[in-house]
Symmetry: C2
Subunit: 187 residues, 2 copies
């Protein structure tokens, strides 16, 4: 952020009174512009024993397989966002089940949330963000071609839980360590 979205003056990065961290503040109109992590919401959908994956038609990770997911929007619930993304990316009709995983992706300033879901029919109609959408038997899951760590973790938990016959809630955090010899922004 370089300019105030409210009045177009150049902003400064400073700690506001009664705050404890730097924010973008406008010296002209006094607006404080907070920035916060975003929620990515999606589903682990099944039709019978098969699991729904989409192959990405967009960067990052173009061509890799993913669970249907995307940014939660203003005006919707986390669950409604998961259903919307599943429709947009796979064209699947689904019934949402329980919240299944929540994973912090600190370096990306995101929190990824996945719900279990049941498909109401086997029809798929991938949207413009997907090269294809396909139902995979467990032994055919393309583990080496998955797009994101949060997708790998959630799928691993899912297949393990399904074998055990019990689906719990899973949480995890992905925190990238600064490379050796490279200072992190706060060090």
């Amino acid at each position: 952020m370089k300019f105030c979205p409210n009045c177009a003056s150049p902003v400064t990065l400073t700690v506001p009174p009664a705050d404890n961290r730097p924010r973008y503040v406008c010296p002209a109109c006094s607006a404080i512009h907070y920035q916060n992590p975003r929620i990515v919401t999606g589903t682990v959908c099944t039709w019978g024993e098969r699991i729904l994956l989409c192959r990405r038609a967009i960067e990052p990770r173009y061509g890799h397989w993913t669970l249907p997911a995307g940014f939660m929007e203003i005006g919707e619930t986390v669950g409604a966002g998961a259903i919307r993304e599943t429709i947009e990316e796979a064209g699947a009709r689904i019934e949402l089940q329980d919240l299944y995983s929540m994973i912090d992706v600190v370096h990306a300033e995101q929190v990824h949330v996945f719900y279990r879901a049941r498909m109401l029919g086997p029809e798929l109609d991938p949207g413009p963000e997907s090269l294809e959408a396909r139902l995979f038997d467990e032994q055919d899951i393309p583990w080496d071609e998955l797009a994101f760590k949060t997708v790998i973790s959630t799928l691993r938990w899912f297949v393990a839980d399904r074998r055990e016959g019990h689906f719990g809630l899973h949480t995890d955090s992905i925190v990238h360590q600064p490379k050796a010899g490279k200072l992190s922004p706060r060090s």
Copy 2:
């Protein structure tokens, strides 16, 4: 948003190519400025049987009681944010337990997340956002003076679960209906 934070030109509200909803777009530099819901993260802390509440020293809901909670910040996990807010608002030393509730607050463009936590000592030291911090026996919880619906729901679940001897994950959504005779922004 009136002006582009990147180049200070006036933005327009328009549906970008390959998108399906209006965004703030800069005609000068082509930047698209997405806006997304924010996460509020906090704790249900206990010291023995008593539950920690803070009385708000800030608006909204000045003077009302709340669970310690606040906006998740860039660079932290949801859990780390819950611990930080508990330290800032109550001065409590805690050990985080499981994720306990996740509630959509659609009209506020927020998702509220609470963890259970165990206090490591009874000492409290409320920060500038709290008039006081106090440990309450269940029968003394000021139900009529609680600040937010998500706090009321989470505390109700907590005291019921504790009686049952089992803490599950709870989810809910608060969606305000437009008033009768008043059109919603999308209708």
